[in-house]
Amino acid sequence: MNWADYVTTVCIIFGCFFFLAGTLGLLRLPDVFTRLHALTKADNVGLGLIALGAAFQVDTIANLLKVLLIWILVLITSATIAHLVARSALLQGEEPWESP
């Protein structure tokens, strides 16, 4: 293993940690808006870290740009979906959760 492999391993481990945080948030948080917050932020950081780890393993510039493109595409779609889902939940009369 050379230094790039170590960097990739650390990035992937941190990425998996953020994915776990996103999944636990999806399961444990009380309403759709808080779940949205957990999912669309934590998961994108996880994917970003895994893409960063992959970027240390590519051999050509084209493949590097491809990994970057995947991450940017997921960021854009995820932000769009977060707004759409929150708006649709509000229009359907979903009440934001308040601490009892």
């Binding site: 399961l27 759709v32 779940r35 994917l47 393993q57 491809k66 990994v67 995947i70 779609t77 708006r87």
Partner: protein
């Protein structure tokens, strides 16, 4: 390095399995849609890990398609789920 990739991919698949619980419990359509988004993001990450493990760039193309389709699924389902008044043309027909 192969061990790292495979363990991480397996871990992410377990994440997807956990996300299935949210689809079962619901309670609203929006919650189930969120679980689908989780599958999209996690699936993309798994495909990136596969492309590293198998040293095949084709998996990165698949990851791109996954990322794109996850977004389209989300937009399509929210359009279907919400009951907002649609904009109409001059003659009153719906734009869709």
């Amino acid at each position: 390095m192969s061990v790292v990739y495979q363990t991480a991919a397996l871990f992410l698949m377990l994440n997807i399995a956990l996300g299935l619980i949210r689809i079962l419990r619901g309670p609203t359509r929006a919650d189930r849609l969120l679980a689908v988004q989780l599958f999209g993001t996690t699936g993309t990450a798994i495909l990136i890990l596969f492309s590293l493990d198998l040293e095949d760039e084709a998996y990165k193309n698949m990851a791109l398609i996954f990322a794109l389709l996850a977004g389209i699924i989300g937009v399509a389902f929210t359009r279907y789920a919400q009951k907002i008044p649609r904009k109409t043309k001059g003659d009153g027909r719906e734009l869709g």
